[in-house]
Each structure stands twice: as structure tokens, then as C-alpha cells.
Symmetry: C2
Subunit: 274 residues, 2 copies
């Protein structure tokens, strides 16, 4: 089997979550070899070294891609719109050219089932595949369509399957910079840009499988007519996304999948301390 | 480090749960080597072979101990009191003599943290260590004391740390057979015998750590003044015991740790199908 490319973009503050994520990815994808690409603007050397050692121990490849500030010299940026917001959409221009396909995943996630079906998905000529949480937030979906003037669903940018060759043709850095310059009222800048500029060119993914909103168990259950119960989620969902402000590594997280996150924190703390 | 001896007694029907148990034991005890002793009265050869292969793959030892019906020829037995009820208490007479200490665990459990602290516990000259679920069921505890005429807590026999040498001195098969013959009203025969005959010689274990009753999260939380929340359990509890009639592998299990069980079923199904 070919190795699966995973893309992450984060800073020092998210290193603990990165470890939990990687541990969950490893445990739930036995027999797979991953190539990990980490795009960042200066993660501490000791952290990078830890990740490198861990990956090598498990036979994975690790590529640290430090972004030169010059690269986004012309990109509009501010405290509200940091340069890091461009990393995920412009990754096709940052990654080595021989990376033909990659799965971007937010680090506030757990991988609890194999990713290979996503990795091998037919993208039907589209540059990006993504899931919308529309089933859950129909109202937010409508609001976002009006706000951004789009006709497609509002996609969540937390999990993206990217055809990097196709993306280099369709996603133009200058378009993105221009859009950001003209819109100073974006709420989630990178996600808004993804939807406003490329919404029509996104292949929809089943969110219950590839980008499950961990806050919304009851909605998934209700809308699926009782099918997507806990057993279904544990058996089918590959990526649990702890999106939103409430985070399972913080105190007083109330949603049910927080338990699973805490357990993976424990497993991770054992394997990363050695 | 020395290898940790684990004792299990079960029949064909519990093979699926055995696999889940072993998977959880492996994941949460990295770097440990286990010696698995399975006492049974005739598990199918194909199941034993599966367990043997799995153990050997992970560098563990596996001993299948098939009980000769003759061994308990004199033991009183009936449909209500099957001979299997004696296996756990009389294990010190069944195990190889060089097994000096062993941890018995029911197969309706998940191991979610390292067992080494239990394995290395000072038993203070006692033949058996066990936990009582007294904090949870004060009333049941009182009822059982009267019912069995004991003065000690009512211990749960689901997790036992056994000093086999000491046990061979203090636990006399004939005493057990005589007690069972005289008491035809036992509710949980082996657990009742353990308490009635050996209650005073049991070293108490902290149930929240070594034999957590998975049905009683709210009670643990309440009695600990809020300390034993989900994060505490995930960090400290080593053995989650799914005791009672409701089982997490059956439909409509309602307690919160069922989620974790379903997840381990999934991990187990991946590693046991290969």
C-alpha cells in the first residue's frame, strides 16, 4: 500500500493536541504508513525533534516545512488575519511537487477509524473535497450563503482532501489576497475564503464519517432516524472534530465524546513521555 | 521488568469479550509482557489458536489450562452451581507451581491504565486482594453481611490479586465444597463463597482504581466530592468493570463508558481479523 500524506498547520500551543491526534491516527490505522507534512512559521526545535523521533519509531515520514515570511510578503495580513491563515489553502504551492494528494486535518480532532477510504476517494476532477456541517446548522448555512454570496453549502475547512496538481491550477494566490483585501469583515477568514472563492469546486464529503461535529450527537441521531447512535459512530466515523470554542482538553467540556479524547490524552502521555 | 501474570476463566461465549479485553490490556500497558493463563472446560481449538497467535505476535505467553472433569469429582455442582464457579478460587491448585502471584480479571472489563502498580502491590501477608463496591451500594453491602453472616465488606470477585503460595495454605478446597453443600441459597456462588469463607483475609483494593463499577459514575463523582470526574477516571482508573446485567456489547446500554467499550470493540475487530 502507498503511504498516506497528512497535512497539518499549527503553532507551539497546539503541540499537545498534535500528540493526541497522532496517537489516535496510529492506533486506528494499523498497517498504514503515513507521511506527515507540518507547515509552520517557527515551532520550537525540541518539539519538532520529538515528532520526528516518534514518527521514525513508527516507520512514518516527517517533513517540517518552515515558512519564510517573505513568501507571503504581498498577502494582506493583520492581527485578525495572520499569515498562517493562508497555509492550508496555499499548501499546494508549499509542499514538495511530488505530493500529488494530501489530507489536511485540524489538530482538534481524533481519528478513530481508518483513513484509507478517504485517501483513495475518486475526487471527480475537483481540487478539494470537504464536508459541510449543514445537516446540523441549516440556519447558519443559510446565513453564510447570504453573507458570502455563495450558492453552495458552507463547507468546514477542518478536513480537506486536496488534489495538489488540480489545486495549483484552480487556486490562485493573487485571487485569495485580493478577496481578503476587499473583505475586512470575514468571520473565519480561511474558511470564508474557501467557500466564497471555491465553494462550487468542492466535492462534498459525508460529514458524519469524515468530519463529525463532536458537539452534535443528538442532531446526527435525530436526523438519521436513530441510525447514527454511539455504536454507529464508533463503527463508521473516521474523524471526530472537536470544533467550536468548547474543547475536550479544557475543564467543563460537556459533550459525550470528550471522554474518548481524555482517554487518548492518557495513551498519548504514555507513549510521548518515553 | 518481570512479566505480569493474568488469569481468566471463561467459555466460548465470552471469546469476543476476551478479544476486546486483551486489546485494551495491550494498548494501555505499553512495554509490558504478559503471561496469560486461561482456565476453561473446553474452549474450541480454533479460538485457543487465535488467542495463541495474537499473544505470540505481541511477545506474550499463553497457557491454556483445560480442566479435567475428574478434578472436581467431589465438588457439589448443579445447573445453578456449575463446576466452573470453582476455577477462580481454586486456581492456585490448577496453575503451574512457579506462578507465585496472579491477577484474576473478569472478561467483562476494559483495562484503560497500567496494571503494574497492582502487580507490585504489597499484599501484607494476605492471600487475596479485592475491591468492594461498598461506596456505591451501602445497602447491598449490609444485606450481604447479614445474608452471609460476615463482618467484612462484601467484595466483588471480578478482580482479584492472588498470592498463590499463601492461597494454597489458606484456601482449602474441602472447606469450599462443604460450604456450598450446606448453602443452597447462594446468589452469586463464587463471590458469596469468597466473602463468607475468606472475607476477613482479603486485602481491600480501591475500587475506583482497580474495579470501577461502570454503571455508577454519578455515585463515584458525588461521594468523592466531585474529584472523580471523567478526567480523573481516564487518568486513574485501571480497570473498568461492566458488571451487572446491562452489558455494553448489547443494544440499549445506557451508561457513559459504553462508548469506550464500543471503540475498543472496533479496534479489536481490526487487529483480530488479520
Amino acid at each position: 500500500m502507498d503511504s498516506i500524506n497528512i497535512l497539518l498547520t499549527l503553532d507551539d500551543k497546539y503541540i499537545p493536541q498534535l500528540k493526541v491526534f497522532l496517537t489516535s491516527l496510529r492506533i486506528n490505522n494499523p498497517g498504514e504508513c503515513f507521511s506527515l507534512f507540518l507547515i509552520h512559521s517557527g515551532i520550537k526545535e525540541e518539539y519538532l525533534s520529538e515528532v520526528k523521533v516518534w514518527c521514525s519509531k513508527h516507520g512514518w515520514r516527517f517533513f517540517s516545512l518552515l515558512i519564510d515570511n517573505e513568501l507571503f510578503a504581498e498577502a494582506p495580513s493583520s492581527k485578525q488575519y495572520p499569515k498562517e491563515m493562508y497555509y492550508r489553502l496555499l499548501a499546494p504551492y508549499i509542499l514538495p511537487e511530488d505530493v500529488m494528494r494530501i489530507i489536511y486535518i485540524d489538530p482538534d480532532t481524533l481519528v478513530i477509524n481508518p483513513l484509507r477510504p478517504l485517501w483513495e476517494m475518486d475526487m471527480k476532477g475537483k481540487p478539494i473535497a470537504a464536508a459541510s456541517h449543514t445537516g446540523i446548522t441549516e440556519i447558519a448555512n443559510g446565513v453564510n450563503r447570504i453573507r458570502l454570496g455563495t450558492e453552495s453549502d458552507y463547507y468546514n475547512s477542518g478536513v480537506l482532501l486536496i488534489d495538489t496538481e488540480r489545486a495549483r491550477i484552480e487556486i490562485i494566490p493573487e485571487d485569495i489576497f485580493a478577496y481578503v483585501k476587499e473583505h475586512q469583515n470575514l468571520i473565519l477568514p480561511d474558511q470564508d475564503v474557501l467557500n466564497a472563492l471555491y465553494g462550487k469546486r468542492i466535492l462534498p464529503l459525508a460529514d458524519a464519517i469524515w468530519n463529525y461535529d463532536a458537539r452534535n450527537y443528538s442532531s446526527y441521531l435525530l436526523r438519521s432516524g436513530g441510525v447514527q447512535n454511539e455504536a454507529w459512530v464508533m463503527h463508521n466515523t473516521a474523524i471526530l472534530h472537536f470544533c467550536g470554542k468548547a474543547k475536550p482538553w479544557k475543564k467543563s467540556y460537556i459533550y459525550r465524546f470528550g471522554l474518548l479524547y481524555l482517554h487518548y490524552e492518557e495513551i498519548a502521555s504514555r507513549e510521548w513521555e518515553n
